[in-house]
Amino acid sequence: MMLVLRSRRGALHAALGGILGGALRLAGLLALAAVPAAAEEPPPPGRTLVVVGPWEVGGLDPASNGHAFTRLEVAETLVGVDASGAPAPGLATGWTVSPDGLAWRFPLRADVRFHDGSPLTAEVAAESLRRAWSNVGPLARAPIAAITAADGAVVVALHRPFALLPAFLANHTAIVLAPASYDAGGRVVRIVGTGPYRAAAVAPPLRIDLERFDGWWGGRPAIARARYLAVGQGETRALMAESGEADVVVSLLPVSLARLRRSPKLAVQTVTPPRTRLLKLNAGSPLFSDPRARRALGLALDRAGLARVLLRNPGLGADQLFPPAVAGWHVPDLPPLTRDLGEARRLLAEAGWRPGADGVLERDGRRFAATLRTYSAWPELPPLAAAIQAQAREVGIDLAVSVGNTSDIPARHRDGSLDLGLVSRSFALIPDPLGTLLQDFGAEGGDWGAMNWSNPESAALLDRLAVLADPAARAPLRRRVVEILQAELPVIPVTWSELAVVANRRVAGVRADPLERSYGLAAMHWATP
């Protein structure tokens, strides 16, 4: 008995000792941590261009953070985009497809070097792309059978024809990195790219320091040093621009823009990116399975009013899925989505809904009540949801607004518990919107797109578009897809988006990129010597 007790006490002692030892080591960590802050490296001599944006620097993995390195032009992709948003040569000089559409050849530029001086070879590029293919991201969704190198070209073999391959290779997860970027386990431990700037310091979560790379194949940029700062609060970003501490500020709140426009020191640019705020509906729920109910909710929305009050730009009311700036997918003569409360009430009555005592519609003893879920990652979404709630109530639809996390939408899509979600959907992740449409409106719907809705015709059209390379043949198919989405409303477009870029006038050559692929640092120069 005594022995047992003693041994137990011994174990306790050992455990306690271990915990104490750990605590002491933690205390050591505390002491260590106090030192480096003071030793923050001083800013390098000479002028540094400061770019401020809302996106935090999460780490080095291209799957999660490749966008930071493409926007800052540290790393590049085989395929770029031209001014119209169409795939264009990047690190590859172009591409050719075999007659059966299954083998794609991307010959590489000959004179490209990585930031560590090593040359870009087809083997290196193929290896880098194979890593992206096996990681999370669009390449994993493409019908790729193999990525190999042959005669100075990257060769991609497909399971089935896929015309979107160049657009998929333009995605930021497909950046080409030097072998020195990876550790033995294949993790990215530093970003050694080919772009005009090299990452001198990556300090998650808020900063990246850049230095000009003199060996860039595209020439010598005018700005020698730049720094990216992530500033999450929109108000703070506006103040950074106003105070002159930032040279270029990306993504500003509509309320700040009017004030910034009045400043003589600043130049404000706005562009319309392919991003739409839309209501994602559960077409499998008894409330929204009837297309008339979906149309009625669409007819209840005053889109121009929402855009005027909340976005300060009435032109952003989305009367169809794509804004006019998205060439090929915006259909100018499509009958627009409008507000018509009388027609909305008529459609709902036709579908069997009758106003109850409190004005909320009822059918077979069931109220037309649903939860509208949204998230605050985009600051405009919660107020938009509240306004939609008020407008829906006018036709007798009772919505309860719930503001949560971004992930609630796809998680509830998966478990089927979503009634209605207000989301901000980008169609620019893959430069061709078709890449996102395939994901959202295919036969099985998508996490951010259709839910329990499918239309054999549009699904077949999307599949056909994915293999069709001839632009003239694609146009009527695209139009038909947009018509079906407009008529069936698996998602209800609410507003389009606006991206504002504010530049201090001491910097010239700033161009807002609607696809948010690049800040265009390499094209900027100091306006004042």
């Binding site: 915990i19 750990g22 605590a23 992740l429």
Partner: protein, 312 residues
């Protein structure tokens, strides 16, 4: 002294156990699917898909039973490890070391500034209790304390960055970026510490020993230095320990507002992303800092009043 140190050490161990367990339990009972949360933070809303979330679930083994996950964290902790962040995959200790430094600097600057502002003001108000200065200081303190740090920070930005163009509204790296966030915190701290100092000084000023010192003919300056400050110092120093709570809470808000990369910022993100090891690590470090600070306060009080040590 040994007993004091041992007591605080046991307190530190308890803090570790309670904070670790509590964070774990709280994060687990929060609504929402952890794999989706982590994937949302890793890949961003635009690239978040169900496949990405399932890949995260497989990679991190999130579907394993919770006692296993909790025990593993305690086991790691006993060996001085805090595990890896679920979002970035980097060791939590490395991430915290990078973010703790800026936070400690911010907190230290704020505390020092608050003492520079609060103590002289409190001393002056206390020595002339009831005067116009005392009343003005009271109004100022109430107003500053009533303003949330978020609003105070914005006001300071508008004044010092936009109107005067002296200091940057955000960023970090040099003392210039440090100035506004630490002033935001310092004003809130000084609001209360000046009143505590004022009351302590006023109280000491009314005691018999203080009046006796004056009566026996000591000059006013010597009375304040020898009898006033030391006696009034004890409640002020004790209160500093309590102010750590305000500091920690303020750091969370101020860091987000000023885009300052500290532990408060890290904690907010970790909670949103359900990054359990990061939440546990950040809360643990904050808890241990609290214990350390209280130890410092105890030691300082004993230095000021040796009777405290002798009484035990």
């Amino acid at each position: 002294m040994t007993r004091l140190l041992l007591g605080r050490l046991i307190q530190a161990v308890l803090v570790a156990l309670v904070v670790g367990g509590l964070c774990f339990a709280l994060v687990r009972v929060l609504p929402g699917d952890a794999a989706f949360r982590i994937a949302a933070d890793r890949y961003g809303p635009d690239a978040l898909t169900g496949q990405a979330a399932e890949a995260v679930r497989r990679e991190l083994g999130l579907d394993r039973p919770w006692p296993e996950l909790l025990l593993r964290w305690f086991g790691d902790l006993a060996q001085g490890r805090l595990g890896n962040s679920l979002v970035s995959g980097e060791p939590v200790s490395e991430e915290l070391a990078g973010q703790l430094g800026p936070s400690l600097w911010l907190a230290a600057c704020a505390l020092a500034l608050s003492l520079l502002i609060g103590l002289p003001l409190g001393l002056a108000s206390g020595l002339r209790a009831g005067s116009g200065l005392d009343r003005l200081a009271l109004v100022g303190a109430v107003a500053l304390r009533a303003l949330p740090p978020f609003v105070l920070g914005l006001v300071l930005m508008l004044v010092f960055s936009i109107r005067l163009e002296w200091l940057p509204p955000a960023g970090y790296g040099t003392w210039r970026e440090m100035a506004l966030p630490s002033l935001t915190l310092a004003l809130g701290l000084a609001a209360v510490s000046s009143r505590v100092a004022r009351d302590a000084v006023a109280e000491v000023g009314a005691t018999a020993y203080y009046r006796f010192a004056r009566l026996k003919g000591l000059p006013a300056g010597a009375v304040v230095l020898r009898h006033g400050l030391r006696n009034a110092g004890i409640p002020v120093v004790t209160y500093l320990g309590l102010q750590a709570v305000y500091l920690i809470e303020g750091v969370v808000v101020v860091e987000s507002l000023f885009a300052y990369p500290g532990i408060g910022h890290a904690l907010v993100h970790a909670v949103i992303a359900r990054d359990v090891p990061m939440v546990q690590g950040a809360a643990l470090v904050m808890g241990l800092m609290f214990v350390l600070l209280n130890l410092g306060v105890d030691l300082l009080c004993r230095l000021l009043d040796p009777r405290l040590g002798a009484a035990r």
